[in-house]
Symmetry: C2
Subunit: 346 residues, 2 copies
């Protein structure tokens, strides 16, 4: 097994550098078999390690390496400009480590736009990939507890061939993460029947049928949160709308519950007694807990952690990346698209 090294952008996100630093340490403490390169302002990272009183063991053994990068890309910046001009930003340097082969994956809680652009410009696509896509784990009731929604927002206007590729990217990702050789692939649609949907999904359906994947047909959006598939394929506009609606619905429901529970003495008492249950559910429906959204289809794994990711989320994102690399998912994707080059037309 080749060495596994994960590059972590220490300066991205609302909780930088604390979340990246503590998340990296937690991941290194959690399991063996990989190293982390923390990329960012050396003094900030060191100060954080000193403050935490942790990490010196990992620095000594070489499992933790600090790579200085003087600049920071902030969320307000125009992605293309930021990536092109800030060559010494923590994000660009981290991406470059993957490009050079020094790292196999990047984890960043920085600007989504910059990370997607940077992934494309610095790392580049797998040969044969038309459009890389963002996958997001959405919480479900039942099954593995999560469905990978892909594309969750990288490509607003799509063609059938893109969706067919998203299905393959998602399948290999879920396969490697859950050790499930035949993840169920669903095509997000308004109904289960074959003839349903808009032009895009109608044209995508027969391509997926012939794909050799475990295509289970149309996934009615009603079943997305109910474990209707392991991979839910859609264009990035629909995916992002679904993702944000999931957040909004959870927020709306919990806020109604809170309001209702405050209404009477009896329900108030009920609320106090059931507090722990609510905390558990809230946590399981909180996307930030899942640990990052993989940007798939590049010549290396790029994982976007939530902007407000904390230690736990960064740790999860790192550990998932390690599993992905360990299971050779990237190599399988490259092999597949090399063998099927020309099959997917714009």
């Amino acid at each position: 097994m080749a060495k596994i090294n994960i590059a972590v952008d220490a300066m991205g996100g609302d909780n930088a550098p604390a979340a990246a630093v503590s998340g990296s340490i937690a991941a290194l403490d959690g399991r063996e078999g990989f190293t982390v390169t923390l990329v960012g302002r050396e003094y900030s990272i060191h100060n954080e390690l000193v403050r935490m009183k942790q990490g010196s063991d990992h620095l000594k053994t070489g499992r933790l390496v600090i790579r200085h990068a003087s600049e920071v890309i902030s969320t307000g910046e125009i992605p293309t400009t930021a990536i092109k001009e800030k060559k010494n930003s923590s994000m660009v340097v981290a991406l470059r480590l993957v490009k050079e082969g020094t790292a196999q994956a990047v984890v960043s809680a920085g600007s989504t736009g910059a990370l997607l652009t940077g992934g494309l410009l610095v790392i580049g696509r797998i040969k044969g990939i038309l459009r890389p896509a963002l996958g997001v784990m959405v919480p479900t009731v039942g099954g593995f507890g999560y469905t990978l929604l892909i594309d969750a927002g990288a490509n607003m206007d799509c063609r059938p061939a893109y969706l067919a590729q998203f299905a393959r990217l998602g399948a290999v990702y879920m396969e490697s993460l859950f050790n499930n050789p035949f993840p169920r692939i669903g095509l997000v649609n308004v109904g289960a029947e074959t003839e349903k949907g808009n032009q895009l999904v109608k044209e995508t359906f027969p391509i997926l049928e012939k794909s050799g994947l475990n295509f289970t047909g149309n996934l009615e959006s009603r079943d997305l949160a109910l474990d209707g598939a392991d991979v839910a394929v859609c264009d990035g506009f629909v995916g992002n709308i679904l993702l944000k609606h999931t957040e909004g619905m959870a927020k709306a429901l919990f806020s109604s519950i809170k309001k209702e529970l405050k209404k009477g003495i009896v329900t108030k008492a009920g609320a106090i007694l059931s507090r722990k249950a609510f905390t558990n559910i809230k946590t399981s429906f909180d996307a930030s807990e899942v640990g990052g959204a993989p940007f798939l289809g590049l010549s290396g794994l790029v994982v976007k952690a939530h902007g407000n990711a904390g230690k736990r989320a960064v740790m999860n994102a790192i550990l998932k990346s390690v599993t992905y690399v360990e299971n050779d998912a990237q190599a399988r994707l490259m092999k597949y698209f090399a063998e099927h080059d020309g099959e997917f037309k714009e």
Copy 2:
């Protein structure tokens, strides 16, 4: 004020004819100023009235009229065939009452496909309307408690001009129902910023800006359930996906809550004490309670009640239709599109 008569398809839906009959009586009991024509098999309707021991007063005063129709369109039938061949079905006869001017609105819990097709074929569009659209009230936290999502599934592939018309149809509907002269119109999108979205919404944005409506810009789907707008405009594919995801999310969340609450003795006690609160929330998030989805843009109001609509839902659908007719919403729509004919291009 002209006479208001609502045609109710007595034979449509899972609970026919009981729900239609009892819902009609409840609506007539609830307020004055309108009549109901129950359309369907005369003996079935009569038997139901006898069983209920109600309605004889309304039959005597002429507020309730029974119109015999021998055939029934069931949910499995191909819409176009059913509408064309079953001229004596309760649905077609009810639609014909609107076409002839004997009724101003139809309420049916029958097959959605047949009702949309029937509305188009039997009643026909308002002059100038490119595509009629299905509006659905989705529950929100705050505001009026509902946002009209339009199109919720009638048109899978849309053009900017269709969406611009949906906005107008939705605005007039909400205006008439909530007596709110300036309903907030939001364009369903992946972000609030102007430049966000797919080609369709990007092209629709400037049309809505010039529309004279109270266009409040892009409505991030996160805010749909949080009272982000009074009318949420989108194509029918996205709308239907959002609608069904709303149902799925509510189901998933309630099922997790139930599971969590059963875990320990303390939370179990909490569950019992807070039972009433949950029932309230479940009801408020249950679309079937809202009372029907208006199919807008036809030369008469067609309201689709949920397939499993009960008495309360049918009653609500009838009363909403009465309000719509009373407030001359239909006439305002016809006037607007007559004056702006040619402005909306395919």
